[in-house]
């Protein structure tokens, strides 16, 4: 897409994303002080997912790329989760 060549991401956008990422990192460390029991993994994963979406969208340029690549990334993520889910059908129900 020509769009990509003309749109140059300003430095400060990258800087703001970094601030957000560092904030989220410290928040993820902070919530370990709260006892969430079995949900602590989920909590950590939610933070990681948000951080990775930020990295994918801005640092890796998905926001400005053709939708096809975004679709592919989503597909791969879904595939991985489906495989994990099905594997757990064995271990969870043993």
């Amino acid at each position: 897409m020509e769009k990509e060549k003309h749109h140059i991401v300003p430095y400060k956008v990258y800087f703001y994303i970094l601030i957000a990422l560092i904030t989220l990192t410290f928040m993820s460390i902070g919530i370990t002080k709260i006892n969430l029991g079995g949900y602590s993994v989920l909590g950590a994963m939610i933070f990681s997912t948000i951080k990775s979406v930020l990295v994918l969208t801005w640092f890796m340029h998905l926001k400005f790329d053709q939708p096809l690549i975004r679709f592919m990334v989503g597909f791969v993520a879904l595939l991985f989760f489906a495989i994990t889910f099905i594997t757990f059908l064995d271990y969870y129900f043993r």
Binding site: L68, V76, L79, A82, I83, I86, T87, L89, D90, Y91, Y92, F93, R94
Partner: protein
């Protein structure tokens, strides 16, 4: 549609003289057509070794008790036979040879997207082959785990497993790079006017296959790395004494190795989807349905791996989930068979050599497929798991599927690739001997398995003797057929009649370029108009 109107005076890709001389003009070439032949010749070499190992097994099994080898040797033979046939023949299979040769031409391109990466793929193939061979020639003993490398034996065996594992890893890399190359090629290099739904079915099948190669292979890659680390460091991931679960190994292994069988069969089906319309001189029935089926098989195929593990100790929930999904994934294959047969209905059939292969493909593929349903049903699986029934099933569907399609494809595209026609009488005889031999070799195994003969044993009970004799005889007839086929194709490359541009009256782009094609395939890149498309009879 504009095409290369006049046959140009250009040199064919076979005769082209570039920067390098002699053998280097081939092993340093980034021309997709030369790379295709490099794969063809290396695969034929490894296939010969694999066939000889298979014949050795059948010779051992011709009588109960020790015939020519003992149990340790037998274990080594079936291991190396499997590793070669799976990783070096049927997985690279049609994509490496016919995908490389025909994909760019069929979509109107001059080469693949990344020609140097393409050559690198072949280098990895050769390196992988060398590593596997080295595991046989050096070290403390030939690998004896089976090609499936199951834990815990794979990290306990004293045999020389690491080079074999490493070889399989490297071969996986070859597969990944081929898949990556083909996806980008299909996305970016289709000729102007060739929309997705004007692309022929063989490229479509390569597209579905490429995604599996790309996404599934890394899983077996990391699994093999873990086995290697288990052997070297004892990390514990698959070792029950350290907390690991060997069944988890099986999950990881089959998460790749089941989709791998779709890597094997999808391009094979794609070639059949090219041969049948051409030899029916009729548009393929249900073009879009075949595309949808291809993508459905590729997708659902990721989720059925547990049907290799029904007796391993998985939960009941996992068992019936996998069984259900296995039955579902059979449906799109059935749709394809229906479409092929419907194409032939009321068509003007040209029963030439490629067509013979295509029809027998359908026959053996269906037998393989139906036997897969027997294995996919939980109640019957318990009974036939790890018996000769399984061996029959996968030889019918993998060797039958990929093998018959490969022979069909080579007889279909041979005139284009080499500019010569082979001797048809010999080709027909080769087909006949091969088919009869194949059926005689593998059919008794269904019976033997149901009667209880285990697989991967060098010995069996006396009541299995007669069926085993029949099976082993079949192996010799089949090998004889192979010999006829190969010798015929070899000789015809030099002595065969010069082939015309379009001997079969095909409608896809490869039949518009010279036989054999020039280096850059097209004088001018063809442009597809409104009315253009494949199979426009």
């Amino acid at each position: 549609m504009q095409t290369a109107a006049q046959i140009p005076q250009e040199v064919s890709y076979l005769d082209y003289k570039g920067k390098y001389k002699g053998i280097f003009a081939w092993i340093f070439s980034t021309d997709h057509k030369r790379i295709s032949l490099l794969y063809l010749y290396s695969m034929m070499t490894m296939f010969t070794i694999g066939v000889l190992l298979g014949l050795a097994m059948k010779l051992e099994l011709i009588a109960p008790g020790r015939t020519i080898m003992g149990p340790q040797s037998y274990n080594a033979v079936f291991t190396v036979h499997g590793v070669i046939m799976i990783f070096m023949i049927v997985i690279p299979g049609l994509p490496a040879v016919f995908g490389n040769f025909m994909l760019p031409i069929m979509i109107g391109a001059k080469d693949v997207a990344f020609p140097k990466v393409n050559l690198l793929s072949w280098y990895f193939y050769v390196l992988g082959a060398i590593l596997v061979i080295s595991s046989v020639l050096f070290g403390n003993g030939i690998p004896d785990t089976g090609w499936t490398f199951y834990a815990p034996y794979s990290f306990k065996t004293g045999t020389n497993l690491l080079p074999a594992i490493f070889g399989a890893f490297v071969l996986g890399f070859s597969s990944i790079l081929t898949g990556l190359n083909f996806i980008v090629t299909i996305h970016r290099m289709r000729a102007p006017g060739m929309t997705w739904f004007k692309m022929p079915l063989f490229p479509w099948s390569l597209y579905g296959t490429a995604w599996i190669q790309l996404l599934a292979t890394p899983v077996v890659g990391i699994t093999l790395v873990l086995v290697a680390l288990e052997r070297i460091f004892g990390i514990g991931v698959f070792d029950p004494t350290l907390g690991g679960d060997p069944v988890l190994y099986q999950h990881l292994f089959w998460i790749y190795s089941h989709p791998a069988v779709y890597v094997m069969i999808l391009p094979a089906m794609g070639a059949i989807s090219e041969i049948i319309p051409t030899f029916s001189q009729k548009h393929i029935f249900g073009y879009k349905a075949i595309i949808a089926s291809t993508l459905a098989i590729a997708f659902v195929g990721y989720f059925v791996w547990g049907h290799h593990m029904f007796t391993s100790g998985m939960s009941g929930t996992a068992q019936y989930t996998f069984s259900l999904l296995t039955f579902i994934v059979a449906i799109p294959s059935a749709i394809k068979v229906f479409n092929w047969i419907s194409t032939m209905h009321k068509a003007s059939i040209n029963p030439d050599i490629p067509f013979l292969w295509a029809v027998t493909f359908i026959f053996v593929f269906m037998i393989g497929g139906f036997s897969g349903l027997v294995l996919g049903a939980l109640a019957t699986n318990v009974y036939v798991h790890d018996t000769a029934f399984v061996v029959a099933h996968f030889h019918f569907i993998v060797f039958g599927g990929v093998g018959f399609s490969f022979f069909g494809a080579i007889h279909y595209w041979y005139p284009k690739m080499f500019g010569r026609m082979y001797d048809k009488a010999w080709a027909k005889m080769g087909w006949a001997f091969f088919t009869v031999g194949f059926l005689t070799l593998y059919s008794p195994m269904f019976y033997l398995g149901m009667m209880g003969m285990p697989r991967r044993y060098y010995d069996y009970l006396p009541e299995f003797h007669a069926a085993n004799i029949l099976s082993s005889l079949g192996s010799w007839v089949m090998a004889f057929g192979l010999l006829i086929i190969v010798i015929n194709l070899f000789r015809s490359a030099k002595n065969g009649a010069i082939a015309p541009i379009n001997p079969w009256n095909g409608k896809t782009l490869e039949w518009t370029v010279p036989s054999p094609p020039p280096v850059e395939n097209f004088d001018e890149i063809p442009v597809y108009g409104e009315k253009d498309g494949p199979y426009n009879y």
